[in-house]
């Protein structure tokens, strides 16, 4: 039941407390927040909700889970081109290759942040990418 004009944000992160903290702040800024706690559930939720922006954690089921999810999202036509904010606890430059055609080191996300991220900072970024 999205209010007209309110943007939909999907947070995919396996840390429930962190998700809760970010949700509180985002909702306080009039965003509609949906959550998923694994890559698998995240993809399902994404297709269901069709958010305007995704906040994606890197390490969930697998260490690089977030990368796979971002690739999957991007491969969805139209709806997959929304801003993706990626958050990671370890600054890693591991394998970004998801398919042989993809450029090495090509990361199809809009922003990459290192944990910890101040929720207020996060909101500012979301504002930036959505109000543009």
């Amino acid at each position: 039941m999205a209010e007209i004009g309110n943007h939909k944000i999907l947070i995919i992160d396996d840390d429930v407390d962190l998700v809760e903290a970010n949700k509180i702040v985002l909702e306080a800024n009039s965003y509609q927040v949906f959550t998923a706690y694994s890559g698998q559930d995240g993809m399902a939720k994404f297709k269901e909700v069709i958010p305007d922006l995704v906040i994606l954690d890197v390490s969930m089921e697998r260490r690089d889970e977030g990368f796979y999810v971002s690739q999957k999202i991007r491969s969805c036509p139209d709806i997959g081109q929304i801003p993706i904010i990626m958050i990671t606890a370890i600054h890693q430059s591991t394998k970004f290759r998801f398919s042989p055609d993809t450029d090495e080191n090509y990361l199809p996300v809009t922003e990459m942040l290192d944990k910890p991220v101040n929720p207020s900072t996060l909101v500012q970024l979301v504002d930036k990418w959505l109000k543009k």
Binding site: A21, S38, S59, E61, I90, N118
Partner: protein, 544 residues
């Protein structure tokens, strides 16, 4: 062409000399023959010289005698000055082969001669037969009455000439006067043909003898040398050649008692010894080869082991850095969550919702508690990994009751039941109670943490075959088959565990495994997704 011939001649000459130089027999034959021949020749020569001189003396005497006889026999005729008779006598005397010439010489003129042509001739004092004494121009003195010379006459025959002075005697004064001492000389020339022939024969015989001796000597010496020296030596050479070629079984077939035989015998002994030595060396060689092969094989296997160890080391290094990464993540991520939650509260977002605010802070507290547990687990794991446990005699019952006691409250919060099934009788063990309790509580704790509310847990214990068996079972979510081999790994967290949003370091089961191993026991797991999980531990029963 001439050049070629010269070269060939030179070549063959050279070849011959080289062969001669090389051949012992040839050298010995040559030198023995040479020395003998020279000695013999020397002897014969001297002998012949002696003979010659002897003959000369004899001839001289005979010639003098002859000349004296002739002188005496013509004396009467001279005294009578019967020249015709004198001439005839002289002619008669020279009739035979022996006396060749008679001449009566007075003041240099031949008065009477057997060869009538010579009568009236002047003596040529320089003629061969005369020169020796008449070298100086004045007449020589008759130093002795025996003046003779041996020479070859005009026909080339060897003759001896005797000059016999005719002294002036009283009987001769009536014709010749008193002043002259010597009236003239009687010159008799006697043939030495026979003598010469004899000497020649002698010489020839000598030469023949020498030649014969030479041949006989060389041949005999040659044969003897061949038989006694050259042949045995060539057999020795053959023998050494065979031995050099490697045939150490060859024995030299020489038997004589002399030095060469000794040499051959000692040589045979040496070759036998060589054979033995060689066999020894070969054996030793083979053994060495064997040892070397063994050493090489051992080296190769040691090398392989080293390679394997290296690989393990590399793997463990890799694991270590993985662990560090995982640990960093597992510390940073919770801290980030804690911080975010506190920031939300501090920023005032929940100032209008005190309940929510409190909830946030409780979450923080829980997370901090988790972290403390995580750190504790980490330290415990490290400590347990290095310890051996303090073993005491105890009974498993004690331990199980402790565990169920500790975990019952926690189980209640998730509405789970823990059922303890046990055999009657003693279950004696050698165990570190704290460690074992810890391990079992980890297992029970996992069952509570990761299974849904209302699940059931059983703790089963019994003994069989000298072992004590413990089973912790639940009917919960189960572990996926592909994860089963890895669950005891350090930092490993299964999918189903993660899904429960419960926090864990992935160390719990690693600790359990360590503890079981410290107690000389074994652990295994059986699980089926959505049906449940069972852990089976077997520990050695303690003798009493």
């Amino acid at each position: 062409m001439a050049e070629k011939i010269r070269r060939i001649k030179y070549f063959f000459g050279y070849q011959t000399i080289q062969k001669f130089k090389h051949c012992l027999s040839a050298k010995m034959i040559f030198w023995i023959s040479a020395v003998t021949m020279i000695t013999l020749t020397g002897y014969f020569y001297i002998h012949l010289q002696d003979t010659q001189e002897h003959f000369n003396m004899l001839i001289k005497d005979e010639a003098y005698l002859a000349s004296d006889i002739i002188k005496r026999s013509i004396r009467q005729e001279m005294l009578l000055d019967a020249r015709v008779d004198l001439q005839r006598t002289v002619s008669d005397i020279t009739g035979n082969d022996e006396i060749i010439k008679i001449r009566l010489i007075e003041e240099g003129i031949i008065k009477i001669a057997s060869d009538e042509h010579e009568i009236g001739q002047l003596i040529d004092k320089k003629a061969e037969g005369c020169n020796d004494c008449h070298k100086q121009n004045h007449p020589p003195k008759f130093t002795s009455d025996r003046n003779y010379r041996i020479f070859n006459d005009a026909d080339g025959k060897l003759v001896v000439g005797m000059v016999n002075p005719i002294y002036n005697e009283k009987e001769c004064y009536h014709c010749h006067g008193e002043e002259k001492k010597i009236l003239g000389v009687l010159d008799v020339i006697i043939s030495l043909e026979r003598v010469e022939a004899y000497i020649h024969t002698d010489q020839n015989r000598a030469i023949l003898f020498l030649i014969f001796t030479f041949i006989l000597l060389s041949t005999t010496v040659g044969l003897l040398i061949r038989y006694f020296i050259a042949h045995p030596i060539s057999k020795l050479i053959e023998g050494t050649t065979m031995i050099t070629a490697g045939n150490l079984d060859h024995q030299i077939p020489i038997d004589p008692e002399d030095e060469i035989g000794d040499l051959a015998r000692s040589f045979n002994v040496m070759s036998l010894r060589l054979k033995t030595s060689r066999q020894e060396i070969e054996n030793w060689n083979r053994e060495l080869e064997g040892r070397v092969k063994l050493a090489t094989a051992q080296l190769a296997s040691a090398n392989k082991e080293l390679e394997i160890a290296n690989e393990k080391l590399k793997e463990s290094d890799k694991k270590k850095s993985e662990i560090v990464m995982v640990v960093a993540h597992d510390i940073r991520a919770p801290l980030a969550a804690i911080k975010s939650c506190l920031q939300v509260v501090l920023a005032g977002y929940l100032k209008n919702d005190p309940l929510k605010e409190r909830e946030m802070l409780k979450r923080v507290e829980a997370r901090i508690e988790d972290q403390l547990t995580f750190v504790k687990n980490l330290l415990d794991f490290s400590r347990i990994a290095e310890s051996c446990g303090e073993m005491v005699h105890t009974d498993l019952h004690n331990i199980i009751w402790k565990v169920s006691d500790l975990m019952s409250d926690l189980a209640k919060t998730k509405k789970m039941s823990i059922k303890v099934l046990e055999q009657d009788g003693h279950l004696p063990l050698l165990a570190d109670e704290d460690l074992l309790v810890r391990a079992l509580t980890n297992l029970v704790g996992n069952a509570i943490k990761y299974n849904p509310e209302g699940s059931k847990i059983w703790i089963d214990s019994q003994t069989s075959n000298g072992n004590i068996n413990i089973a912790i079972k639940d009917n919960g979510v189960g572990i996926p088959q592909d994860e089963v081999p890895n669950i005891f790994e350090v930092m490993f967290r299964g999918r189903n565990a993660k899904r429960q949003k419960e926090h864990g370091a992935g160390l719990g089961l690693s600790i359990v495994k360590q503890v079981v191993e410290i107690h000389q026991g074994k652990i295994r797991v059986e699980s089926k997704e959505k049906e449940g999980t069972s852990f089976f531990i077997s520990l050695p029963r303690a003798e009493n």
